[in-house]
Symmetry: C2
């Protein structure tokens, strides 16, 4: 009976602007609708529009940090024979951004790839929808940190059962020559994005980020962290989606001021060499541990779009030596001990 | 009864030089000994001595290709708290060899690491011995191919059961600017190393090499192959060990003449950029697929010794572009189609 009522109310509500639904009762019914009636496919155009507008916005804002008009994000649309496709946008060899990628993808199909159902056998033979935006920015100046953001939505539609949906994502920062004030600013902005959704949100997702971006064989974190969340569906769909939008907004608010502040710092060839050397760690994490990268490559994703995350120039020196000297060891130790090892930044 | 006799004979034989055992009956008994009585621990000093002398020999021969006296393999011994250790030898920034590693290791313990017993649960709680030599040479000149060789021995000693032992290894070549005659020479030399052990040996291990060094997400082989073998114990221990020695000898016989022939070819900055770009594939294979690398990192191996295989300078360009142009696409296609895709070289 309750379900029927909620369904009728929600059906009527479709004609209203969802944002006007401020009455608590409406929120409850909306929650019931999405949890129980699961008309989740109706939300996909909304998510798609937001992800596409975020891609556009990020490319625009990053381009504005370049001084040369030729430093633009090229657009490379692609299709997937099994359903869907994406738009890869890449900035190569910019003055400020040495290599940057802002990828959108929306893939779907009548059957989840086997690698996606290993841990969820009940979803075998489910139709699915997967949408995402992935961002990796490798600046040229070693004093500007590398940044990564990802936002994704997933829904599985098993036959004769309610669909399952969730959001995932986050953003994290990988400095080579860190400034304490930048790290604090990065985490403060991340926290500001989380706080409207509950005081426990930032600490929880900050911790998840520290746990996830850890390079086991080096016994060190990839960077200074940020936020990481997955399987997010315990709030209403609306609230989850609003949180994801807050993440998109706060990522650029956290990163762009750091680019502006550091992009003109003079640097030496030794600084560049240290950056290329530490970028090796980034490659190691992405190719050995990153679930998105491995899942993408194993499930026949578009290799060039997935591996846009890899830095443009990378060095591996045995034992932190450079030109026959242990040039990087002390510097690296300081970086790891004082900045990368998890800290309470706010 | 048969076992008892063989055991007594072998016990007596211990006082003889094993290489003098040419009588067919002795061979049979030796086989029985190693298969049934499994006094395999006695062989470990022999294997260890050979691997150490091979390490020495390879470093010597590679150093002779350098023109400068400062280009030498530094020696970095290390110990493993759980038992054993190794000697890592690295040549950095040589004139001919931009980065090279020739590693020896001998590790042992009272219990196999869990990752080693996943597929062999019967070996849980087994003591083990593992010895190996690993070689990766990244030459500076893009016209000299990258080469890799590995030889390894493994024995597990389950309680109240006979031990299990096997050899593994092989060698393979990764050219950036290949010459047909070099590829033929490489494979002819590999075949010459195999032929005394049976006419089916080269084709079988050549095929295994093509199968193993394949980069799935790129749908391309890592190089032009060579030989790959694992779980080798179907011959007598003596024959298996002789084969492994032949592999060590033929690796340097196959590679050094190619270094000599190509190390002085003039090259452009574009050639170097292509080499750095293609080295990215080498990194992708090693970090995503190579069992030795992943096993080593997961089981708490010595990271710097394992990752000595990674090239010194590596580039990733989106879609084979370089400086805004699709500079590498055609060249790469030719390399893959004409050389890397498996061919019958001999």
């Amino acid at each position: 009976m309750k379900k029927l009522i909620s369904f009728q109310i929600v059906s009527t509500m479709r004609k209203f602007d969802l944002s006007q639904l401020s009455h608590p009762l409406c929120e409850v019914f909306l929650w019931v609708k999405f949890k129980d009636k699961m008309d989740i496919l109706n939300t996909i155009p909304l998510i798609r529009d937001y992800f596409l507008s975020l891609q556009q916005e990020l490319c625009q804002q990053f381009s504005e940090e370049e001084n040369h008009s030729h430093s633009i994000f090229i657009e490379d649309p692609w299709q997937r024979s099994e359903g869907g496709g994406g738009i890869t946008r890449i900035l190569s060899n910019g003055e400020v951004i040495e290599k940057g990628g802002v990828n959108f993808s929306h893939v779907f199909g009548s059957q989840l790839p086997p690698s996606a159902t290993l841990l969820r056998p009940q979803l075998q033979n489910s139709a699915f929808q997967a949408l995402g935006v992935s961002v990796v920015i490798h600046p040229r100046n070693p004093y500007v940190p590398t940044a990564h953001a990802n936002l994704r939505f997933f829904s599985a539609h098993p036959k004769n059962q309610d669909p399952i949906w969730w959001f995932g994502g986050g953003f994290d920062l990988t400095p080579y020559f860190p400034f304490e004030e930048d790290c604090i600013f990065w985490h403060k902005t991340a926290k500001a994005g989380c706080d409207p959704f509950g005081k426990d949100v930032y600490p929880k997702f900050k911790q998840a980020c520290d746990d996830y971006f850890f390079i086991k064989h080096r016994n060190e974190p990839r960077g200074i962290g940020g936020l990481f969340f997955d399987d997010l569906n315990e709030w209403s769909f609306e609230t989850c989606f609003a949180f994801v939008k807050a993440m998109g907004d706060h990522f650029i608010q956290a990163y762009r001021p750091i680019i502006q502040k550091r992009k003109d710092i003079p640097y030496t060839e030794h600084d560049r060499a240290f950056q290329r050397y530490r970028r090796g760690r980034y490659v190691e994490f992405n190719l050995i541990y990153d679930r998105g990268t491995l899942f993408g490559l194993q499930s026949g994703g578009r290799t060039e779009s997935i591996l846009m995350s890899l830095p443009p120039h990378v060095d591996w020196h045995y034992n932190g030596h450079h030109n026959g000297h242990p040039a990087f060891i002390e510097q690296e130790q300081r970086l790891v001990e004082e900045f990368l090892n998890p800290r309470h930044w706010v």
